[in-house]
């Protein structure tokens, strides 16, 4: 635990380093990279120790302060999320050193680096905090710093707009959180999490208000549909290493908050579990469907975060239902699946955003239909992006498959036990739809961006990025492969974390799951070996045959051009057509000019929130005559208010 704070101090020192050594660029970069690495490693060691030790080593560190003691602690849940923050956080920070290195605005770059390091510190403090006030302070620092990180490129209008929408959304969420904690703590109650847990039994209606506020406040941060409206713009227009941190880590704090509330409150009521499960399915299906409709690579990845938050919520809802109906195995599997998928998504989503950043760095465009053939020009970026894609689609032998497997098992164990919990089975259909759509979507991304023939000069002149950017990507990819091939090492601790959230001891029936995961690991290894062996053997057979090279067969057409290739939009068109208006795609056909456009609209923001906001402004506009801008009018208001108050009080004391 104290090592955690040493790590935090080192990360903070790196921020100071970046801010102060502005004139000595090379030294600043080296010192920053070294300090951030050392800090992240130091802070991660206690987390590993807690997860490996298998005992809930809750160490407390109380700082006396106004508004009650500031308590910090490290338990299983915090340890898991600490790893979520530190791994992808470190990779993004190191990538950022290189990616920003070529920017002209040195002062801005130094500030961005320093803020990034402070953001990491704030994130760590969010998961370590064990009292309301330090939690909210760290939360707010994290949210506001993220605004500055997102708006790094603030000369572009859409970046400023995205930042503004984000700022409004995150503060609406913080407001809900303040309401949550004040309603929970009550008047005069203690503000540590222990005190809150002690009061959990006395909350009216089983904590219905607290749970709803948590789902709104933390859901806004996590980006579940329909509270995701700020997310695609913010994650799409930030610098890529910031997008990686936002999508991989910052939105996970919403998940952390939800799980923390559940673990403090004890078994939630069943309706809340169903609510979470259904919103998970809705987020997952709509998120991936909207991702499929995007033309912009980074916006597409941002929508996939909405989808994966959906999968995490399916796990969380299953866990909550298992706890509510008293089926420990389902509770443990559900929560474990949610936590493990959070870890995995943090890994492969930051990897994908870093990969997308590399392609943008090399070509200068994020529009997929202008790219193509980058697999030849950026072979290493392509391999790491492909690993991330296979992982996010949930295909063996990578880590995304492992966590989806755990969630599936949770759903099916719920379905084969008795009572109304059996209805969770239909979550299986949701997950299957999500998986199928995700496959189509990443087939589109990989195929259109990295394969085929370049569709523009920008793509034609794409080049491989530097080792400083590739290193972090391959680090993340390596962890994805490791968890995929040694799933037992990840699922075992995840089950312990799940049991600690559900506040049960590991049920003995978990043995069956653990045996399954061991065999799954062997099976994944066999798959990899068979693929490798097959490729080698087949290569040998091929060498004995006569090989000819020719143009792609164009069905007799002699002069194929890059413009004749299938595009991202045409690839996605049949699926989007099958889902109809849900997909939110507008088609415009200009017959005279021979032009055809499709536009993917953000349904919630454009159809619901902006019109609602316009309506509210219209109504409030009628109050405008009250504001005359003359002093005597305001004095009149003050006097009138005083008089009314006096009358009210007088009514109170009269016999």
């Amino acid at each position: 635990m104290s090592l955690c704070f040493v790590g935090l101090a080192l990360i903070a020192a790196s921020a100071a380093c970046a801010a102060l050594l502005r004139t000595r660029l090379v030294l600043a970069e080296r010192a920053y990279g070294l300090l951030v690495s050392a800090g992240c490693v130091a802070a991660a060691i206690p987390a590993f120790r807690v997860l490996a030790g298998g005992s809930a080593a809750v160490v407390r560190l109380s700082i006396p302060a106004p508004s009650g003691p500031w308590v910090f602690g490290l338990d299983f849940l915090s340890a898991a999320f600490l790893l979520v923050i530190l791994g992808p956080g470190l990779a993004s920070a190191l990538y950022g050193v290189r990616a920003l290195g070529s920017a002209q605005d040195r002062r801005g770059v130094a500030t961005a680096r320093a803020l990034f390091a402070v953001e990491l510190v704030a994130l760590v403090l969010v998961v370590l905090a064990r009292a309301v006030v330090p939690f909210l302070v760290a939360w707010e620092v994290m949210a506001v710093l993220a605004y500055f990180l997102v708006t790094f490129d603030n000369e572009r209008t859409e970046v400023r707009r995205a930042g503004w929408v984000y700022l409004v959304a995150t503060h609406a969420g913080t407001l809900a959180l303040i309401a949550l904690f004040t309603s929970w703590a009550g008047v005069g109650g203690g503000l540590t999490f222990d005190a809150l847990a002690a009061r959990a039994g006395s909350l009216p209606a089983g904590g219905a208000l607290v749970l709803c506020l948590a789902l709104f406040g933390f859901g806004l941060k996590a980006g579940l549909v329909p509270l995701h409206f700020w997310l695609p713009d913010a994650h799409g227009s930030a610098p890529s290493h910031v997008s990686a941190l936002m999508s991989g880590v910052v939105i996970k704090m919403g998940i952390y908050g939800l799980i923390r509330v559940v673990s403090l409150l004890g078994a939630p009521p069943a309706w809340w579990g169903w609510l979470v499960l259904v919103s998970g399915v809705v987020s997952g299906v709509l998120g991936v469907l909207w991702a499929l409709a995007q033309h912009d690579l980074k916006r597409l990845l941002a929508y996939h975060s909405v989808e994966n938050i959906g999968i995490i919520l399916i796990g969380l809802g299953t866990g909550a239902l298992g706890a509510a109906y008293g089926v420990p195995l389902v509770a443990v599997l559900g929560f474990a699946g949610a936590v493990l998928h959070t870890v995995n998504h943090a890994l492969f989503k930051s990897l994908l955003f870093l990969g997308a950043g590399a392609t943008v760095h090399a070509t200068g465009t994020r529009i997929m239909d202008r790219l193509g053939g980058l697999g030849r020009r950026m072979p290493l970026t392509w391999v790491s992006f492909l690993i991330g894609s296979v992982a996010i689609v949930g295909l063996p032998p990578l880590n995304g498959f492992v966590s989806e497997w755990v969630v599936y098992l949770g759903l099916l164990h719920g379905g084969t036990s008795g009572g109304s919990i059996r209805l969770v089975l239909f979550g299986v259909a949701g997950l299957a739809i999500i998986g199928g759509l995700a496959l189509a979507c990443f087939a589109k991304v990989c195929g259109i961006v990295f394969l085929g023939v370049p569709r523009s000069d920008a793509a034609l002149h794409g080049h491989e990025v530097s080792a400083g950017m590739l290193g972090p990507m391959f680090g993340l990819a390596g962890v994805c492969v490791f968890i995929g091939l040694a799933p037992g090492l990840a699922v075992g601790p995840a089950l312990v974390v799940g049991a600690s959230i559900a506040r049960v001891s590991l049920p003995s029936s978990v043995g069956d799951v653990l045996a399954g995961i061991v065999r799954l690991g062997i099976w994944s290894l066999v798959l990899v070996m068979l693929l490798a062996l097959g490729a080698v053997a087949w290569g040998a057979i091929r060498r004995r045959r006569s090989i000819a090279r020719a143009e792609t067969w164009g069905c007799g057409y002699a002069l194929p051009s890059a413009r004749m290739q299938y595009t991202a939009s045409s690839f996605a068109a049949p699926l989007l057509a099958a889902y109809g208006p849900l997909a939110g795609v507008h088609e415009t056909l200009d017959r005279g000019g021979g032009a055809f456009h499709t536009h993917a609209s953000e349904l919630v923001l454009e159809r619901a929130i902006l019109p609602a906001w316009a309506a509210v402004r219209g109504v409030l506009g009628r109050l405008r005559p009250l504001q005359q801008g003359r002093l005597w009018v305001y004095l009149l208001y003050v006097i009138a208010t005083l008089l009314l108050l006096l009358l009210y009080l007088a009514r109170g004391v009269s016999p």
Partner: protein, 298 residues
């Protein structure tokens, strides 16, 4: 052992379907063993590669063979035990076949051809719509048997409890047959006999393959068909109580029957319009979820 029999017999299944179709439409048709000859011929030929393609194009045929092979290892083909089964392996089964499809779609896009892009896009579309049907079928089987591995669902010590679960299991078998028609690219989803690139789906996805690679892909596709045909056969004909040889005989007879059924469907209806295919696929999912509801009620 049973795995070996299936590996040898798989290329005959498309032949049986084609022969049925020929007989029903009053032609003589190609011999049932035609695919064996095709494979033999193709393996000895040279190959032509497009200059656009990369390693992805070369890896995909291998993945197209390895994935159904490994998936067969999860099924209890002799009606008792699977060569390598484990808890939750049905997820692995579906994901493995999805991996094969993913590589094939990428290989199609690797050629940069609009025809293959079209095939890849339709392939991915239909696969994503049929995925829920497969999973919901597994859900019904898990409900009926209380088991979470394919070995327990389709074989193992206890036979499938026909009786109360009969209606649900019948629905599952029909739904799995629909899945087979989609996954094996047959009418009414796709037409293996069409010769117009614009209307082909699977055939155009592999348009640029030639020689040994094409042989590997054709064999992989035949394995896929055997794999998906084995699912409804295992649901309908529980074979745990038979001796191994008889169980294997029943499986083979079942596979041939399914191939004949595919041929009958193919000669009795035309391919659906592309915009209608999603409705057909959703029908498969709806059928399986009706089965799940029935099973939950009993």
């Amino acid at each position: 052992m049973s795995l070996l029999v299936l590996l040898v017999l798989a290329p005959a299944l498309p032949g049986v379907a084609a022969k049925t179709k020929a007989v029903l439409t009053g032609r003589r048709g190609a011999p049932v063993m035609q695919l064996y000859w095709d494979l033999f011929r193709l393996v000895r030929k040279g190959a032509v590669y497009s200059t656009t393609t990369t390693w992805m194009f070369r890896v995909a045929p291998v993945a197209g063979l390895v994935t159904p092979l490994l998936a067969l290892g999860l099924l209890p083909l002799d009606g008792r035990r699977a060569p390598f089964g484990f808890t939750g392996d049905f997820v692995a089964f579906a994901a493995l076949l999805a991996l094969g499809r993913f590589t094939l779609v990428l290989a199609a896009l690797d050629t940069g051809s609009s025809f293959e892009g079209m095939g890849a896009s339709r392939d991915a579309t239909f696969a994503s719509l049929v995925e829920p049907a497969l999973f919901l079928s597994f859900v019904v089987l898990a409900l009926a048997t209380g088991q979470l591995s394919l070995e327990g669902m389709l074989g193992g010590a206890q036979a499938l409890p026909w009786g109360a679960a009969a209606p649900a299991l019948t629905m599952v078998a029909v739904s799995l047959f629909f899945v087979l028609l989609t996954e094996a690219s047959r009418v009414p989803v796709d037409d293996p006999a069409t010769h117009l690139e614009l209307t082909m789906i699977h055939e155009v996805t592999v348009l640029d393959y030639s020689g040994p690679d094409l042989a590997l892909l054709l064999y992989g596709a035949a394995l896929r068909m055997a794999l998906f045909a084995a699912l409804p056969v295992s649901v309908l004909a529980s074979r745990a109580h038979l001796p191994v040889a008889a169980a294997l005989g029943v499986l083979v007879a079942g596979l041939v029957t399914v191939a004949v059924a595919v041929g009958v469907v193919e000669s009795s209806m035309a391919r659906l319009r592309l915009s209608r295919v999603p409705q057909f696929l959703v029908a498969a999912s709806v059928l399986a979820s009706l089965g799940a509801i029935l099973q939950l009620l009993t």
